[in-house]
């Protein structure tokens, strides 16, 4: 059961890394100068994380989930601002995926997930221009944005 949980957490993190790699490719095309260089650097970090996760899954005699050919991105990128918003959103997604790894009963995986969350939170803060109090955690009910309901 514990092995299964660890594997599920690793696969979820890998899927999130794959989505981030794809998304950074889209965002990077709308960035320039130092922002594009940063996007390139972060893209490389995500690829390295993907490779590390793939190795960890393979070492558990499991098949890593395959990356998709296309991802339905949460932000439509049209300019620099929306590219930065997409990059921040991608980092949030990866942070949340690593949060699952922190809950498994393995000292090593907990530590790995927690350190990966730190990298993601730093990158998200760069793109967003501000930090967050609880990266990866769902917002408490009282702090969730109110979504108007069509009547």
């Amino acid at each position: 059961m514990q092995v299964l949980q660890a594997l599920q957490a690793l696969q979820a993190a890998l899927a999130a890394e794959d989505a981030a790699i794809y998304g950074y490719g889209v965002a990077g095309a709308h960035l320039s100068g130092s922002q594009q260089a940063t996007a390139q650097q972060y893209w490389t970090s995500h690829r390295e994380a993907r490779d590390a996760l793939t190795d960890m899954i393979t070492a558990r005699d499991a098949t890593p989930v395959a990356a998709l050919a296309y991802y339905d991105l949460p932000v439509t990128v049209t300019d620099t601002a929306t590219a930065a918003t997409l990059a921040a959103t991608l980092e949030d997604g990866v942070t949340a995926a690593y949060l699952g790894m922190v809950a498994v009963a393995s000292r090593r995986l907990r530590q790995y997930g927690a350190l990966a969350m730190q990298d993601c939170a730093v990158r998200a803060a760069y793109w967003r221009g501000s930090t967050a109090a609880f990266p990866g955690l769902p917002l408490p009910r009282s702090e969730r944005p109110v979504v108007p309901v069509a009547g």
């Binding site: 949060l99 530590q111 969350m117 998200a124 803060a125 967050a132």
Partner: protein
Amino acid sequence: MARRRLLIASATTLPLLLTTTGCRSAGLFAGPDPLGPPPPLAHSTVVLETVIADEVALISLYESAAPGGSGVLAALLAEHRDHLARLRSRLVVPAGSSRRPHVATPRPAAVRPSVSRLRAAEQRSASSLVRRLSTVSVEPALAQLLASIAASDASHDAELGAL
């Protein structure tokens, strides 16, 4: 009626009777020994107490660094206060525990802390949180909260580095 009174009396006087006769009630009952010492705090509770104390110290440092309460430092201070509130909301110490939580009130820094000192404190906090959450006896939900706070602290360090 007399039978009910007898039953109530048994529940209260039996432990006393067992003591005077040299018996341990735990040998007769399946639950915790009512005559034994209060149960120790769970490991997660001990970790939570320590983390709360560290967060209080960090807040005190920020309050000394940004007494005016504006700008980046004030924003980071606000997030630390959010951390503290969320941590405290999780702290439930069962009645009869062997000790009560103790959170020391740190003294304000005599000299206004520099940004580099704040960065060092954020780095220490993030490392310490990861070390604590890695212990498997820390319950998963608490481990996730500590990981999230550690990630926030790491981003604070980066934010301070850009000042």
